[in-house]
């Protein structure tokens, strides 16, 4: 079974078909996807803006990161689950979309960026917690986060136009 056939099978499943053909479920899931995006990426953007020295610069970096984490995770969960259901309902249509594939490449890179930052640069946060100007690697993590999330949003919206 090719990847495309698997996607076709997912789309043709009972759940996929019901979501696609529903009047209210698809729009509601899509609304949840946008709300989840706003909460997760909105709070991630605040953290990244702190890292690059643009927002909340009077507050310690750890205060910003630790206190926003619950909101980020909640928003991300909503976005991820609603995204799975949206994919479920049109997997075969999404499979060939280059913007959809690009979105996942950038999501993967964002994951690596976050893991690398937390595993290395963030370990020394005690030394620069109160600094407006964070170390170069922290500023890079912030810039990469903001710009790659912008690409993800762009590609996600673009996918809906390419589908037609």
């Amino acid at each position: 079974m090719s990847l495309f056939e698997i996607c076709q099978w997912i789309q043709d499943s009972n759940i996929g078909t019901s979501i696609r053909e529903s009047t209210y479920v698809f729009p509601l899931i899509e609304a949840a996807h946008v709300i989840g995006l706003a909460i997760s990426v909105g709070t991630i953007a605040i953290v990244d803006l702190r890292l690059i020295g643009a927002a909340m610069t009077d507050e310690p970096v750890t205060d910003v990161i630790e206190q926003l984490q619950p909101l980020t995770l909640t928003g991300f969960t909503v976005m991820f689950l609603s995204g799975i259901f949206l994919f479920w309902s049109e997997a075969a249509r999404l499979y060939p979309s280059y913007s959809y594939r690009t979105k996942f490449v950038f999501l993967f890179l964002l994951g690596i960026n976050a893991l690398y930052f937390h595993a290395t640069t963030y370990k020394s946060v005690g030394k620069w917690n109160h600094d407006r100007m964070t170390p170069f690697k922290a500023r890079m993590a912030g810039w990469i986060g903001i710009s790659f999330w912008a690409v993800v949003i762009f590609m996600g919206r673009w996918t809906a136009y390419n589908l037609k």
């Binding site: 609304a31 709300i35 995006l37 706003a38 605040i46 507050e59 206190q67 673009w158």
Partner: protein, 157 residues
């Protein structure tokens, strides 16, 4: 009041035609609309959570508002300016749309609440009690999420 001629005029401006005739302008403007919405709802949510006592409690309400309110403001400017461009290109679609007026009511109320009430939170001399802050937090959450949801509904109703 008959708003039809007004919407017809919006629909017929030179800018409306330019956006309609291009394949890429509308989606690109809509992406910027989404950037603005993300930052606006994100910052409004964080400020409201603080006012409700549910987040960022190591900082005062004033500290959170002073830091994030300017970002909310400029995100709203980006969202509204891009929204006006989107509206111009499809004003007649909006005219007959059941969700569009709701989006405008929420938006108008959100702007009024910001001008008359919400922005005072970012003022150092603000003496709002915790009860008033909680009411304000819920009002702003309802209004701005209302704008977003009614906006998304435009495409479906």
């Amino acid at each position: 009041m008959n708003l039809l001629p007004l919407f017809q005029w919006f629909d017929s401006t030179a800018l409306s035609k330019v956006i309609r005739d291009s394949t890429y302008i509308f989606p690109v403007v809509e992406v910027f609309h989404l950037f603005g919405l993300t930052l606006l709802l994100g910052t409004v949510t964080v400020m409201s959570m603080r006012m409700l006592g549910l987040g960022m409690r190591r900082q005062s309400v004033y500290q959170v508002a002073r830091n994030l309110m300017p970002w909310s403001f400029w995100a709203a400017v980006l969202t509204i300016v891009s929204g006006i461009l989107l509206f111009l290109s499809e004003a007649m679609k909006c005219y007959g749309n059941a969700a569009f007026p709701w989006k405008m009511y929420f938006l108008g109320a959100g702007i009024l609440v910001y001008l008359l009430w919400q922005r005072r939170v970012a003022h150092p001399d603000s003496k709002m009690g915790s009860g008033q802050l909680k009411v304000l937090a819920i009002v702003t959450l309802v209004l701005w999420y209302g704008v977003a949801l009614a906006g998304r509904a435009i495409a479906f109703v």
